[in-house]
């Protein structure tokens, strides 16, 4: 590109070393984490739908919140799970959960226990965790018949029938609704089997990137609500009035997004400026 023609300022800017961009991103992510800044959060209808459905449930109703995230995706989905657990426990709802992704089994266990402790909830009475079984599609199908089919025992090896909460809790029909928090394409199985085959009311919490994919299912009514990434989590945190990780991370995101947009703008200005100059020559 350089050749014997000397590069003008705009050309140089267009071909800027990517590491300057990395450095800028690094700075804008590190600094706001040290400073505590908050910006308002706007709640979308698809998140509100999840909140409203849960909020309207009477005390003691069982809801199912299967979680499928792993260390790589927990940044986005863990705050969402926390917010949901908080909402349910605050409303005295009962939670059944499982993790159909192997890397997340202990993560989800720890997360449930953490929030339950916050609300003084007891395992087996207020919440039950099934743990992991391979091949999500088959597990989801079997759970539609009976939770005991894939999970005769819970994560801790206790028989489901000996847990007080599991009395009369048979399958999806025993749960008022399902919210699947999923970092994988496994959410499709929940749509196809839990909702498609067993007609369980289903909402999804997915990563921001796959959220676009699931709007189709929202539009077609296969899911009643959708939370996408940290933004979804931050909205939920706002709805339950409990600002936590997502809201904090959202601040950083706001700034980082703006910086990326500024980069795009600079890139375009440079592009047009250099083109104009070339035409003039």
């Amino acid at each position: 590109m350089a050749g014997n023609v000397e590069m003008g300022f705009w050309d140089k800017l267009m071909a800027i070393d990517r590491r300057w961009i990395y450095l800028t991103i690094g700075i804008v992510v590190f600094i706001p984490i040290l400073l505590d800044m908050t910006l308002p959060v706007y709640v979308t209808a698809e998140v509100k739908a999840v909140y409203d459905r849960i909020d309207a449930l009477p005390q003691g109703t069982v809801v199912m919140i299967p979680c499928e995230y792993d260390p790589a995706t927990m940044a986005e989905l863990r705050p969402m799970a926390h917010a949901l657990f908080r909402h349910c426990f605050a409303k005295d709802l009962k939670i059944v959960s499982c993790a159909l992704q192997i890397e997340g089994v202990t993560l989800v266990k720890d997360d449930l226990a953490l929030i339950a402790a916050e609300y003084g909830k007891t395992y087996g009475v207020d919440y039950v965790y099934f743990g992991y079984k391979p091949f999500p599609a088959i597990v989801i199908l079997n759970m539609g018949e009976n939770f005991r089919k894939p999970f005769p025992r819970d994560y801790y090896g206790t028989e489901l029938d000996s847990l007080p909460m599991m009395k009369g809790v048979v399958n999806y029909s025993s749960c008022a609704l399902l919210v699947n928090i999923n970092a994988t394409s496994g959410a499709d199985y929940w749509i196809n089997y839990a909702n498609g085959r067993y007609k369980a009311p289903l909402a999804l919490g997915v990563t921001a990137v796959s959220a676009t994919d699931y709007y189709t299912f929202l539009a077609s009514g296969q899911i009643f609500g959708l939370m996408g990434g940290l933004k979804g989590a931050a909205e939920y945190e706002k709805l339950i009035n409990h600002n936590a990780a997502a809201t904090k991370a959202m601040n950083v995101q706001s700034i980082a997004h703006s910086v990326i947009v500024v980069f795009i703008l600079i890139g375009n200005i440079a592009y047009f400026a250099s083109r104009k100059r070339k035409k003039a020559i």
């Binding site: 990517r18 449930l57 009477p58 109703t61 790589a72 539609g144 018949e145 009976n146 089919k149 009369g168 809790v169 048979v170 399958n171 029909s173 025993s174 008022a176 498609g196 085959r197 067993y198 007609k199 990137v209 796959s210 676009t212 994919d213």
Partner: protein, 395 residues
């Protein structure tokens, strides 16, 4: 006060009406001794679950005598089951307000089952009824899937029709696709530069069609590579995919008459974990500096990490995936992208065999059919004829 008085009157009227059904009334009164008025009847119907493997029944109910207010106050339905209407019913589940249907499963085919539904408000049983028998059985044909069967048959016959006519020598036109034409150029470039080609078959398993399409493209790439005496590196995520890739590359070298040039260490297994795999492929890109990188098959979050690193190392990049979420990243960074269906079409394009091109023609006719159905469906839905759209609601 007034409302509850009215409710009482309704219940009273119903119970008077019920008195002749002595045996039924007896069951109720025995169970509900603790309350002042007898519960309303629930009409329960039990039917076999259609189109299922067997062992499942559908229980549906309605409470014809209840007004909306009473219905609203029923917040729990308790469902119990028995194989004999006169014996003990075993409670199986309870459902929330507004339920009118329950699907019971795990039953024995050919046996009789009876169901009892009891509706409660907070303390009282407001209504109850028993229904049955239902006999679960499995079906040998899923009538709900007839539309798909028609589609499969239609598609297969069209495709086979075009394949046969192609065999007879009929020539089909196919529009050029930049990404596919670039494949040959890219290999030529690698030869000129004396650098290898990197072929990443994605994170899918060998049973996923996107990966199978990737094998075909690899076959073509490897054949050219063998002809030009270049090298192709194929790092793998799945061992079965690796086995097939080895077979494909080895076969290509053999077909090109250079079986000795094939090095099994060039088609190797990395690890079955997404990001450690990505880290390793990044390493290959930066250290071996391939002239061209191919990404074909199933890709997830690693797509951009791979493509950016490939860009940094200065390679020409051609990607093809049906993973919608990842296409934008490939589009932004790679030189050529095969989007969705184009990945599947690539194998036909690259082979240039008339039979293969025949199936492309069938795909296009499939799309024409979809276009027609959408337009007709739009018109029908707008004029309120919903049964047309419902026809596609297959299960």
């Amino acid at each position: 006060m007034k409302k509850s008085g009215f409710k009482f009157l309704v219940v009273l009227a119903v119970s008077i009406w019920l008195t002749p059904f002595a045996s039924f009334a007896e069951v109720i009164s025995a169970d509900s001794a603790f309350q002042s008025f007898p519960p309303m009847p629930i009409i329960v119907t039990v039917s076999d679950m259609p189109n299922d493997p067997g062992g499942a029944l559908i229980v549906e109910w309605s409470i014809p005598d209840a007004d909306s207010l009473t219905l609203a106050s029923m917040n729990v339905y308790q469902i119990s089951r028995s194989s004999n209407p006169d014996s003990e019913f075993e409670s199986i589940t309870s459902l929330v307000a507004g339920s009118t249907r329950y699907e019971d499963s795990g039953l024995e085919d050919g046996k009789n089952y009876y169901y009892r539904i009891i509706a409660f408000d907070n303390d009282n049983r407001l209504a109850e009824g028993t229904g049955g028998p239902g006999v679960p059985s499995g079906q040998w044909f899923n009538t709900g899937r007839i539309p798909i069967l028609i589609m499969v048959v239609l598609f297969a016959t069209t495709a086979i029709g075009f394949i046969v006519s192609a065999k007879k020598g009929y020539k089909f036109y196919v529009r050029p696709i930049a990404g596919i034409r670039a494949v040959d150029d890219a290999i030529g470039r690698a030869t000129e530069m004396g650098r290898p080609i990197l072929y990443v078959p994605g994170l899918g398993t060998a049973s996923e069609v996107a990966t199978i399409a990737a094998f075909t493209i690899l076959g073509r790439v490897a054949r050219k590579v063998a002809e030009y005496n270049t090298r192709v590196i194929v790092p793998n995520y799945d061992p079965v995919v690796m086995a097939v890739c080895q077979e494909v590359v080895k076969g290509a070298y053999t077909a090109a008459g250079k079986p000795d040039m094939y090095d099994a260490n060039d088609v190797y297994f990395v690890t079955q974990d997404q990001f450690p795999y990505t880290a390793a492929v990044n390493g290959v890109m930066l250290r071996q500096k391939p002239a061209t990188n191919f990404y074909m098959g199933m890709f997830y979050a690693e797509s951009l990490v791979l493509a950016e690193t490939g860009f940094i190392s200065g390679s020409i990049q051609i990607a093809g995936t049906d993973q919608l979420v990842q296409i934008p990243f490939f589009v932004s960074v790679c030189d050529f992208v095969l989007m969705g269906e184009e990945l599947y079409a690539a194998s036909a394009y690259l082979s240039q065999e008339p039979q293969q091109l025949g199936t492309l023609k069938a795909q296009d006719w499939g799309k024409v059919l979809v276009v027609v159905l959408i337009i007709v469906g739009m018109i029908f839905s707008t004029f309120g004829w919903e049964s047309f759209a419902a026809w596609f609601d297959v299960g």
